[in-house]
Amino acid sequence: MDSIRVDGNDCFAVHEACLKAREIAIKEQRPILIEAISYRVGHHSTSDDSTKYRSRQEIDGWSHWSPVTRLRAFLEKQGLWSEKQETELRAAIRKEVLEGVKIGERKLKPGVKEVFSDVYDQMTPPLLEQERELYEHLQRHGAHYHFCLLY
């Protein structure tokens, strides 16, 4: 199988490679492998501290090659983007995200019936029984679960 290796952090190069690969795949009816070289700059998850298995220098070295930063630099050089536009866009998006968070936080947690729904298309007899048991339990001890209730 033929392959194309491309700088995965260069969006134009990746686009070019995909166009070429697609053209070959369709015209010649064969698979093409695209190997896009990139790097995971952030930690694996919020529970991970990646400096435990790689050096700061390595991380900083790669951050330099961020595809977003490179595209921005290109656009600025072409006169298609500016520092002012960057600041304004960031402020506008931040406002939009924060409003979304406010709306989300006001929403109540899913109702208790969501524990038992969509396990199957139709609730089975054991699930119906267990749902009833849970409701009865919450009637007796609901106050203790206040932090996660309710519709």
Binding site: S47, D48, K52, Y53, K109, P110, V112, E114, V115, F116, V119, T124, P126, L127, Q130, L134, H137, L138, R140, H141, H144, Y145, F147, C148
Partner: protein, 366 residues
């Protein structure tokens, strides 16, 4: 006819030799247990680390491996071990549970003590075929000619508060249902170290499920050095007379809280609490003796109720203690749904649900 007799003798001799070795190992282990007097305060995960350290030190033909094990593991259970024992004994595997299991089984079958880490018990399923069809059956299908003893699959299991579907599962029932495997679940630091060492050295493949919720919050005195807690033996955590309560792992803390609440709010009630420790083979004798005394049984586990280990324990106790039972056996478990996200607090067998069961059985009247 003569040919069959010849084969029989060969296998018989091998079995005798293997048993002979096992007996002398058991004798040594018992001595070491009583010698380990001094203790040190440790977390549960620290005790696991200590057990792994002892295992690697005392057995030069042992290896520890899994995803991210080399830098110490995502829960820090393997911290410092690669530095101490070298990259040929403590190493990373590819992100492939089926491969980890197959490799571990082959290694163990060839005489290397294998400690394989599965990063979360939820990820053990790609390895299920290797564990069930290879590890569990190697001794049986070869008539004892081969075995993969000294093989442990360690995996963090259970609710953790925010784990959702794929970081909270309790898969013990699938493995308890597979003959040829042993299943062990510790509930505290000292228990974790002793049980893990016993599991690593057992002549059979063991699934060792570690209660990740209490990895750091469970702290206790742990014997320094080498010691083991025997498999197949439950522990009576608190003696009682009114009802027998059986659990394992992190659930033990929930049961203790339920007992405290029950003994305060139900005057005269005295609950006997049993930590099963080994789920397969489970200590039937201890549980049966207890139920014959109390006449009532409650089993509690996070795993879904249907087909969970509680069902097996209930059936066996019903069979052996039918005339001693004064109330139906209660199971306080997870519901028959995937482990949920936001609604985890109402899903898990909370101390209040256990309390309700205690109240129900002690007040049971036909």
């Amino acid at each position: 006819m003569a040919f069959n007799k010849f084969i029989g003798t060969q296998v018989g001799r091998q079995n005798f030799q293997r048993t002979g070795t096992m007996l002398s190992n058991n004798f040594q282990r018992t001595r070491m247990f009583s010698e380990a007097q001094q203790t040190e305060k440790m977390t549960l995960v620290g005790a696991i680390n200590s057990a792994l350290d002892v295992a690697l030190e005392t057995d030069p033909h042992s290896c520890l491996f899994g995803e991210d094990v080399a830098f110490g593991g995502v829960f820090r259970a393997a911290v410092g071990l690669r530095e101490k024992y070298g990259p040929e004994r403590v190493f990373n595997t590819p992100l492939c549970e089926q491969g980890i299991a197959g490799f571990a089984i082959g290694l163990a079958a060839n005489g290397v003590t294998s400690i394989a880490e599965i990063q979360f018990a939820d990820y053990i399923f790609p390895a299920f075929d290797q564990i069930v069809n290879e590890a569990a059956k190697l001794r049986y299908r070869s008539g004892g000619t081969y075995n993969c003893g000294k093989l442990v699959f360690r995996a963090p299991y259970g609710a953790v508060g925010h784990g959702g579907h794929y970081h909270s599962q309790s898969p013990e029932a699938y493995f308890c249902h597979t003959p040829g495997l042993k299943v062990v679940v510790p509930s505290s630091p000292a228990e974790a170290k002793g049980l893990l060492l016993a599991s690593i050295r057992d002549a059979n493949p063991v699934i060792f499920l570690e209660p990740k919720w209490i990895y750091r919050s469970s702290v206790g005195e742990v014997p320094i050095g080498d010691f083991e807690i025997p498999l197949g033996k439950a522990r009576i955590v608190k003696p009682g007379t009114s009802v027998t309560l059986v659990g394992w792992g992190a659930q033990m803390l929930v049961l203790e809280k339920a007992i405290e609440y029950a003994e305060k709010n139900l005057p005269g009630v005295s609950v006997e609490l049993i930590d099963l420790r080994t789920l397969s083979p489970w200590d039937q004798e201890t549980v049966i003796n207890s139920v014959q005394k109390t006449g009532k049984l409650i089993v509690s586990h996070e795993a879904p109720v249907t087909g969970g280990l509680g069902a097996e324990i209930s059936a066996k106790v019903m069979e052996k203690c039918f005339l001693s039972l004064e109330a139906p056996i209660e199971r306080v478990c997870g519901y028959d749904t995937p482990f949920p996200g936001a609604l985890e607090p109402v899903y898990v067998p909370s101390y209040l649900k256990v309390f309700d069961a205690i109240k129900k059985v002690v007040e049971y009247d036909i």
